[in-house]
């Protein structure tokens, strides 16, 4: 098999003009690659499928808030933001989780959650947009997906990633999903969070919102005690809000100032998102 492969490869190198033959060679090379699947890229279809499984688990921890109008409102804000990005074609979905804690989650493939606890601390649509844009960046930059893949390399043997991706009911799949859910209680790299803050501010500004939405939320969080049960998990999994505000001030001041005058939509937020 290896000899045949080598011969075929040398043959193809000698005869580059034979397109049909090269096509076969590419197929051969692809199957050779899938043997080393622990290091291969997870494609978009697989990313979405993994995301569905992870989203279902998060929804097992906290269901959606029952208010349909609120859910549609958050989807409008989120989808408008996502339309301004390089992955606008993903099946974006946004959900408000019925949980008192203050938190938000990004799931690979385009699913974003925000808790009702965090929503109730917000004062404007621009603040909501700032947080959703931060989460959208995690999906754009595949922060969770890369962390899952990195974990799979060390904890899944041989071709287990291949099985995990192919077979949704395999044991390997279950392990892969555990790696994913762990991330939501352990957190991403700090650098991923700072990047999501910077790029998120730019996305909210591009969508026409007051660019200070995210900093305003960070300031609200900064005012809270880190030991507070409402923010314990969020503080454990993110850099301190004061540190994030400093980083935004250092890198994003010109962007923040250029778009500070855009709409905050305080009234629309109050009408659509306040508890009923």
């Amino acid at each position: 098999m290896i000899r045949l492969f080598l011969m075929a490869f040398l043959f193809a190198a000698a005869l580059p003009a034979q397109a049909q033959f090269n096509f076969n060679i590419n197929k051969l090379l692809d199957s050779a690659k899938s043997l080393r699947s622990a290091t291969r890229e997870i494609d978009q279809r697989e990313e979405i499928a993994i995301g569905d499984d992870l989203a279902a688990r998060l929804l097992g921890a906290a269901p959606l808030a029952s208010d349909a109008r609120l859910q549609r409102y958050v989807n409008h804000v989120g989808r408008w933001l996502a339309s301004q990005t390089g992955r606008a074609e993903l099946p974006w979905r946004f959900g408000v989780l019925e949980a008192p804690q203050l938190n938000a989650f990004a799931v690979p493939g385009g699913t974003i959650f925000i808790t009702r606890g965090l929503l109730e601390r917000m004062k404007s649509e621009a603040e909501l947009a700032g947080v959703l844009a931060h989460e959208i960046v995690h999906v754009l930059q595949k922060h969770h997906l890369k962390a899952i893949q990195k974990g799979a390399k060390t904890s899944l043997a041989g071709d287990a990633l291949g099985y995990a991706l192919k077979d949704a009911r395999s044991e390997a799949r279950d392990k892969l999903l555990s790696l994913g859910t762990e991330l939501y209680s352990r957190g991403l790299d700090k650098s991923d969070e700072f990047e999501a803050d910077r790029l998120g501010v730019a996305i909210a500004a591009r969508a026409g919102y007051d660019s200070y939405g995210l900093p305003a939320v960070l300031q609200t969080l900064q005012a809270m005690n880190a030991q507070d049960s409402g923010v314990a998990l969020m503080f454990k999994t993110h850099p301190a809000p004061g540190e994030r505000l400093n980083a935004l001030g250092e890198r994003m001041q010109p962007t923040l100032d250029a778009y500070a005058g855009q709409p905050q939509l305080v009234e629309r937020f109050a009408a659509e998102a306040k508890s009923r």
Binding site: A56, L59, A62, S83, R93, T115, I203, R206, M224
Partner: protein, 159 residues
């Protein structure tokens, strides 16, 4: 019990309206939210203020008898080295509302998203289907943005 919860939530929203904060660096207190506005007073590093409202990148504050605007990012809430404040009661409050008994879980009450809940969660496919139902189309989102007079801008990314 309901009255107690009501008083508690009222207190939370009131305390959000005027919050104690301090200045990260020496800052000019401005009459208007603009760099070239008249300076009302010079505030020292760590000066204590009370925040009133935010407008773009500026926050209106009271500093002693003076009132004016400072750069929002120059502010941090609490006090420099101030004692940690207590729990907001977010979780407890929720439990009271759900079960009537502080801190205990009765039937269908949701404790919410702590690390333990996430780790032990079983998939909920029915909620996933509901989530998908609420998704907005790009066109619907664009119409919604137009209603809010949100205008698309060219913004450079900072890597």
């Amino acid at each position: 019990m309901k009255i107690a919860v009501f008083i508690f939530t009222t207190f939370i929203s009131f305390s959000c309206a005027a919050e104690p904060a301090f200045l990260l660096r020496a800052t000019e207190l401005k009459k208007e939210p603009a760099t070239d506005a008249e300076t009302v007073a010079a505030l020292a590093e760590n000066a204590a203020v009370e925040t009133v409202e935010r407008k773009g990148g500026w926050t209106r504050v009271k500093a002693g008898t003076a009132e004016g605007w400072v750069r929002m990012l120059a502010l941090r809430y609490g006090g420099p080295g101030a004692a940690k404040r207590g729990d907001s009661g977010a979780s407890q409050l929720f439990n009271v509302a759900r079960t009537g008994t502080s801190g205990t879980q009765v039937t269908t009450g949701v404790r919410g998203l702590d690390a333990e809940m996430i780790a032990s969660a079983r998939p909920n496919p029915a909620e996933l289907a509901r989530l998908t139902q609420f998704a907005a189309t790009p066109d619907a989102a664009a119409g919604f943005a137009a209603q809010g007079e949100l205008q698309r801008q060219q913004v450079r990314e900072v890597k």
